[in-house]
């Protein structure tokens, strides 16, 4: 059976908790070379309460998608602990893992690639029910049509194929599919970055409505800070697999403490031509994850780096929920 949506979530209870998650990959570098080890995610801890949105921000190669996939139980972490709704999921496999997967679902970036072009929308929406529940065909159909209506599509859309829909509609379908099992957590990997501005606003509104209706917790992976500022409660900024800053949204945007967060904020174009520009343009690019720089991973691009940054890796520190990984952040 499908677990009913959480009746009355208490505020301090977290549905998702991660401690020191690490993910490494072995990558072959040619026949004679020894395989290299890439640390895609190193030591990330987080908590997420129902009805809250945690935004994970970073550039490509920062490990934000890998983190999202671990939280969605698509990939097991190499080390660390992950618990969903109070149940530790590390080391769980088989039928129990399958049962846990119902409570976490994922929406992917590209709605053109994430829907099977040869299946009708109804078949796509019923698939999770077939795999995870023992509902009969009539009940499955009813639930699929109901969910379609909730994401703003009409019943006659059910028998159509993905190519007959626009990008925004496809993303609605992908969101409906993620909701079919009534999960508690949804990992959204860049859900609106492939959409046009006018449609993007529609989908963001839909996500906000559904969060209210189903008491969902969102992990919102994005590189777009203007969207994050709108939708998030907490923000985690990642750089080269690690967290550089983690805090409530208001704190991050009003008073960014890590130089990378500051650069990211100043580099984001703002639709206000009168605004004075004090852009911090970073030099260089993200270093290769095969050979991360010694000390702070941001030091080769950091405008305020000192000698200590090149030798010693800063730990994530701070008071309460306001954490920064920088030697110079007081």
């Amino acid at each position: 059976m499908i677990p009913a949506p959480l009746a009355a979530p208490s505020v301090d209870m977290s549905v998702l908790e991660a401690h020191d998650l690490i993910k490494t990959y072995e990558v072959g570098r040619g026949f004679f070379a020894p395989p290299g080890v890439v640390r895609a995610v190193s030591g990330i801890s987080l908590r997420l309460a129902p009805r809250k949105t945690l935004a994970v921000v970073g550039e490509s190669g920062s490990g934000k998608s890998t983190l999202g996939r671990m939280l969605a139980l698509i990939e097991p972490p190499t080390d660390g602990h992950l618990s969903i709704d109070g149940v530790d999921v590390t080391g769980v496999y088989g039928a129990r893992l399958k049962a846990l997967r119902r409570s976490v679902q994922m929406v992917f970036q590209n709605p053109y690639g994430s829907l099977n072009p040869r299946r009708t929308i109804r078949a796509t929406l019923e698939e999770p029910l077939i795999v995870n529940t023992d509902l009969g065909p009539d009940e499955r159909r009813a639930r699929a049509l109901d969910m379609l209506a909730r994401v703003g599509l009409r019943p006659e859309h059910a028998e159509r194929y993905p190519h007959m829909f626009s990008g925004g509609q496809r993303q609605r379908i992908a969101i409906a599919r993620a909701l079919m099992l009534r999960p508690k957590i949804i990992v959204l990997d860049e859900p609106v970055s492939a959409l046009d501005v006018s449609v993007r606003a529609q989908v963001l509104n839909l996500l906000a409505d559904l969060q209210e209706e189903f008491d969902l917790a969102y992990v919102f992976v994005s590189h777009d800070l203007s969207v994050v500022r709108h939708i998030a409660d907490d923000v985690m900024v990642m750089y080269l697999g690690g967290v550089v800053e983690q805090a409530a949204k208001e704190a991050i945007f009003a008073d960014p403490r890590h130089p990378y967060t500051r650069a990211l904020l100043s580099a984001t174009p703002v639709a206000d031509p009168g605004r004075p520009r004090d852009r911090i343009v970073l030099t260089g690019e993200l270093p290769s994850p095969f050979a991360p720089p010694p000390g702070c991973s941001f030091n080769p691009r950091c405008p305020i780096a000192v000698e200590r940054c090149r030798a010693e890796k800063p730990a994530l520190h701070g008071e309460g929920d306001r954490l920064t990984a920088c030697h110079l952040a007081e």
Binding site: E59, S198, R229, P273, R275
Partner: protein
């Protein structure tokens, strides 16, 4: 004299069903030397196709018509392909959205930069190499000598885009058309590329046409903006004016839908979606989604308003957010 003059440009594509699809409908644009003009619109609004028509890069199925299409006074419409190739790539250059797929994976970066130098300037091997190094240095690629022998797959996205820019400015063009130059890149790299384009404009005295969908990029880079919707140009204004007081309801709705301009949790989204090929109305194409549409909007196509109203393609252009009756169109007179 304007550098690029486009008057009433239309592009039709033959479709498989035998009909014609109008991808660009009556677009006019003037670009002065050293100016940064931005063309903004959603996907499918025809913003790229209009510029590809200028470059002559459209496939054979395209029918390009215009009252005037001129570069530095030279008519680009009637000239032979050979004469056009003398201009395109030399005086007008273009960079594309996907730097990774725009570079040829089989040739080194140095060779690809050298191609236009050989074709347009007739430089010899040594001169090409020297110029290529100079160009890579100009676009901010570290140790350019060693990068000449690199293949595109050895470069990151930001580096590939820099190489694309180096290729485009190789012959010191007077006009650079940049089609979503920073969309596929990360935010910090996007900032570097936009900075580079503006710097090149300042140093090299070239005009820049920036095609984008990102209002933030427009606000920070462009001097003048053209807004396109469903193949038509709906508004044209100075950047400051456009953001302060948009005259076309589509521009106003687009700006209101930006998350950074939102004041509440729910964004003022534009309902519905862009009309497809076959469901374009007789009247204004934005009417079904427009918040201030009247009965006349869905039956009669609007004409252009005056220049102080952003040449808005609207029956009731907005002033300070409110629809107004146009004085230049008398009631009952068909446009």
């Amino acid at each position: 004299m304007a550098l690029l003059e486009i008057e009433n440009l239309s592009v039709d594509f033959e479709t498989r069903s035998g009909g014609l699809f109008r991808a660009v409908d009556g677009v006019s644009l003037k670009v002065d030397p050293r100016e940064i003009v931005s063309i903004v619109g959603e996907s499918g609004s025809g913003k790229s196709v209009a510029m590809l028509a200028v470059m002559g890069l459209l496939p054979k199925t395209a029918r390009v018509t215009a009252d005037r299409l001129a570069f530095e006074g030279m008519n680009l419409l009637g000239i032979t392909p050979a004469a056009r190739r003398k201009v395109v790539g030399k005086d007008i250059a273009m960079i594309f959205q996907e730097p990774m797929s725009s570079l040829n994976p089989c040739f080194t970066v140095g060779f690809q930069i050298g191609e236009s130098l050989a074709a347009h300037l007739g430089l010899g091997r040594a001169a090409r190499r020297a110029r290529a190094i100079e160009l890579l240095e100009l676009v901010g690629i570290p140790s350019p000598e060693s990068r000449l022998a690199a293949f595109p797959h050895q470069l990151s996205g930001g580096m590939s885009q820099r190489v694309m820019i180096a290729m485009a400015i190789a012959c010191s063009p007077k006009l650079l058309i940049a089609d979503e130059p920073s969309t596929a890149l990360d935010v910090t790299i996007q900032a570097q590329i936009l900075e580079l384009l503006v710097r090149l404009r300042d140093e090299k005295d070239m005009a820049l046409v920036l095609i984008t969908h990102d209002m933030g990029v427009v606000a920070e880079t462009a001097e003048r903006v053209v807004v396109q919707y469903a193949s038509q140009q709906v508004e044209e204004a100075k950047t400051l004016d456009l953001f302060r007081d948009p005259h076309h309801p589509y521009t106003a709705a687009l700006l209101a839908a930006l998350p950074e301009r939102a004041t509440e949790k729910r964004l003022p989204a534009i309902p519905g979606m862009v009309p497809g090929q076959w469901d374009r109305l007789d009247g204004c194409r934005f009417a079904p989604r427009c918040a201030v549409a009247t009965a006349v909007c869905s039956t009669r196509p609007p004409t252009r308003a005056a220049a102080d109203l952003g040449r808005a393609l609207c029956h009731t252009p907005l002033v300070a957010g409110r629809p107004t009756t146009r004085s230049d169109v008398a009631e009952g007179v068909s446009a």
